[in-house]
């Protein structure tokens, strides 16, 4: 009799636990709408140019000279989107380019994405830089047009095989009396949209 009573209690305990245990008021289907949307900030290219650095031949005062174009060109490894994951889940990349100039010359910064083999991909991007006011003055700050440069998902798909970036600074004829410098700073903002 006592055994029956005991096991009835146990049975009751088990049934109560089972009967009461449930998951309610939740909707796991919401997971379909869950997205990761981090924004990652990363430095892009930077460069400093001082007019003095390129007057290598110690030319006399008030003499015009041209900076050899090859010394203002470069190609760096830059895996823009890298993987299929990035292509599929990058909503856009925003490039912010800022140039601070005290050199009394306007110039242009150009860059273009390249394949591993060096073939151009997509458009050539140009950043016109306003002339500065001379050495010792506050630098004139120029930004890319538009600012930022937006690489949307369609563009990123075009650039999916980009492995390098070629840059060139197009500087007009300088004069040995000119004093000043320009400083290029830039960043890339990666907007990710990943559906869980």
């Amino acid at each position: 009799m006592k055994m029956k009573k005991t096991y009835l209690v146990l049975l009751f305990f088990g049934i109560v636990l089972l009967a009461l245990s449930c998951v309610k008021d939740v909707d796991f289907g919401q997971l379909d709408n869950a997205v990761l949307t981090p924004v990652l900030e990363a430095d892009f290219i930077y460069s400093e140019f001082d007019s003095q650095d390129f007057n290598l031949d110690n030319l006399p005062p008030n003499t015009d000279f041209d900076v050899p174009p090859e010394s203002l060109r470069d190609t760096v490894n830059y895996d823009l989107v890298g993987t299929d994951f990035a292509v599929d889940n990058l909503e856009r990349v925003e490039l912010t380019i800022e140039v601070r100039n005290t050199l009394e010359r306007a110039f242009t910064l150009q860059f273009q994405f390249l394949t591993e083999g060096g073939a151009p991909l997509g458009q050539l991007y140009s950043v016109p830089v306003a002339a500065g006011l001379g050495e010792g003055t506050n630098p004139v700050i120029s930004f890319s047009m538009p600012n930022p440069i937006v690489l949307d998902n369609t563009t990123l798909t075009q650039l999916s095989t980009a492995q390098k970036i070629a840059t060139e600074i197009i500087v007009p004829t300088l004069n040995t009396d000119l004093r000043g410098a320009f400083h290029i700073r830039s960043k890339a903002s990666y907007y990710i949209n990943y559906n869980l």
Partner: protein
């Protein structure tokens, strides 16, 4: 990724706090109480657990949130709920999973001294604890745009995991009418271990208005992870036959389970002390031990610092710039096979109990022949602490013990833990002749909606008790 996310949330929703067995502690009607306090005041003459069934213990949990927090059907956007939950979590929140299976459990009272009780056996244990890597979860979920100049700390990454078997033998001695003392020697045989607990350093994106570029990305890292028992599993050559691979893994696990793995030693100590006839004080320290990992060890570490400011152009040295090469040179990754030692997670238990309602009407409906009439009721306070990588975890319980009859004995607990204030536990133990069955669970109030549970613990088992 989605599966991983669901798994994390699943564990998150069925959480439990470490190895606290608040209902079983000092429940001296069961021999399993000796595993929690070798100095428990047991009365039985002998016991034998049903092999593989004398104690099944599962304990899993997450200290910071529940499934309900994220998946509640309240019309809000799930992404808002994830963000709110994420913001509410801290780097000291943790996921824990503990599972124990008694393989053998036996004991007997000494022939030469009725005050001495020996017990021994073997059990298997899986114990995993992983702290929530808050900083890097934020980095993944929100990125670094809103966290400029804020360091993401590698110290957030902290986890340990161990699969092992334990061989133990205990000695329980009633010193006098007041004091019972016990100790248990243990040999640990580790099957698999991994740990990463001593990480430091940061990743920071710093704004540099006057710097070379808009930001500096600074990585200062001193991170490491030790493993034992994994490398040989990775190297198993199954020749494309999964069954063969599984057989080899099983053989390795069995070999390691029976003292063929990395070995360690440990001890449990405990006591019960009657302050007065009805007041009892108990305390125990279990798993005071260490495991020496010398076999099949593979550890990884990365140490160094690196600052990235973007790609300098034009580059004047003509060598080009390979950021990955620079990074790997600055923060080299090493794989080591140096042995290591690790302490077992020490557990401390203590209680004070007041017993009353002694059953003594001569019919012995609630006592065992030959024994003193038992107290049918008791209440008291228990405390528990377990040492974990980031410091001890604590719990305190109020309990009420009720012996309804020889056949049915119960204990109800109310436990306060780090993040839970409504944890009710219940243990029911039945004793029919010499056959005993017990079952225990906690967080009973949450069974009406398991989605709200942060922690659950379940124990059950069969014994033969004489």
């Amino acid at each position: 990724m989605r599966i991983l996310f669901c798994l994390c949330l699943g564990i998150l929703g069925s959480s439990l706090y470490a190895q606290n067995k608040e209902t079983l502690y000092d429940f001296t009607d069961l021999p399993q109480s000796l595993l929690l306090n070798p100095g428990a005041e047991v009365k039985f003459k002998a016991h034998a657990g049903v092999p593989f069934l004398s104690q099944i213990h599962v304990n899993a949990g997450f200290s910071g949130a529940s499934i309900y927090d994220v998946f509640v059907d309240d019309g809000r956007d799930i992404n808002d709920k994830i963000e709110t939950t994420l913001n509410g979590l801290g780097s000291r929140d943790y996921v824990t999973l503990t599972q124990q299976l008694d393989i053998l459990n036996f004991g007997w009272r000494s022939k030469w001294s009725q005050d001495t009780y020996f017990s021994g056996g073997m059990y298997q244990e899986l114990d995993v604890v992983a702290y929530f890597p808050k900083d890097f979860a934020v980095l993944v979920y929100q990125g670094n745009q809103d966290f400029l100049n804020v360091p993401f700390r590698f110290s957030n990454i902290s986890f340990t995991g161990e699969l092992l078997t334990v061989f133990h033998f205990g000695y329980n001695k009633k010193i006098d009418k007041k004091l019972t003392f016990g100790a248990r020697a243990k040999i640990y045989s580790s099957i698999v271990n991994f740990r990463s607990t001593k990480n430091s350093g940061t990743f920071t994106t710093i704004e540099t208005p006057q710097g070379n570029n808009i930001y500096q990305h600074i990585v200062q890292a001193d991170v490491s992870m030790q493993t034992a028992g994994f490398a040989s599993l990775r190297d198993i050559d199954d020749g494309g036959d999964r069954a063969e691979g599984a057989r080899q893994v099983k053989n390795k696990f069995l070999s390691r389970a029976f003292l063929g793995g990395n070995l360690g030693v440990g001890v449990d100590v405990g006591f019960s002390y009657k302050l007065e006839e009805q007041w009892t004080l108990t305390g125990s320290a279990t798993d005071l031990g260490v495991i020496f990992y010398t076999k099949d060890v593979e550890s990884y570490e990365a140490k160094g610092s690196y600052t990235f400011e973007g790609f300098q152009t034009p580059i004047t040295d003509g060598n080009g710039q390979d950021v990955l090469d620079e990074f790997e040179t600055a923060i080299p990754r090493d794989t080591l096979s140096t042995g290591y030692t690790a302490m077992r997670p020490l557990k401390l238990n203590g209680s004070i109990k007041y017993s009353f309602n002694k059953y003594d009407d001569g019919t012995c409906n609630s006592c065992v022949d030959g024994e003193d009439p038992p107290y049918l009721d008791a209440f008291g306070l228990q405390v528990f602490s377990q040492f974990r990588p980031k410091g001890p975890q604590f719990a305190a319980s109020l309990f009420y013990y009720k012996r309804f009859s020889n056949f049915l004995r119960t204990k109800v607990t109310y436990t306060v833990e780090d993040f839970s204030y409504d944890n009710i536990g219940l243990l029911v133990s039945t004793h029919f002749n010499k056959i005993n069955f017990y079952i225990s669970a906690n967080n009973l109030l949450k069974y009406s909606n398991l989605a709200k549970v942060k922690g659950l613990s379940l124990q059950l088992g069969f014994n033969v008790i004489m």
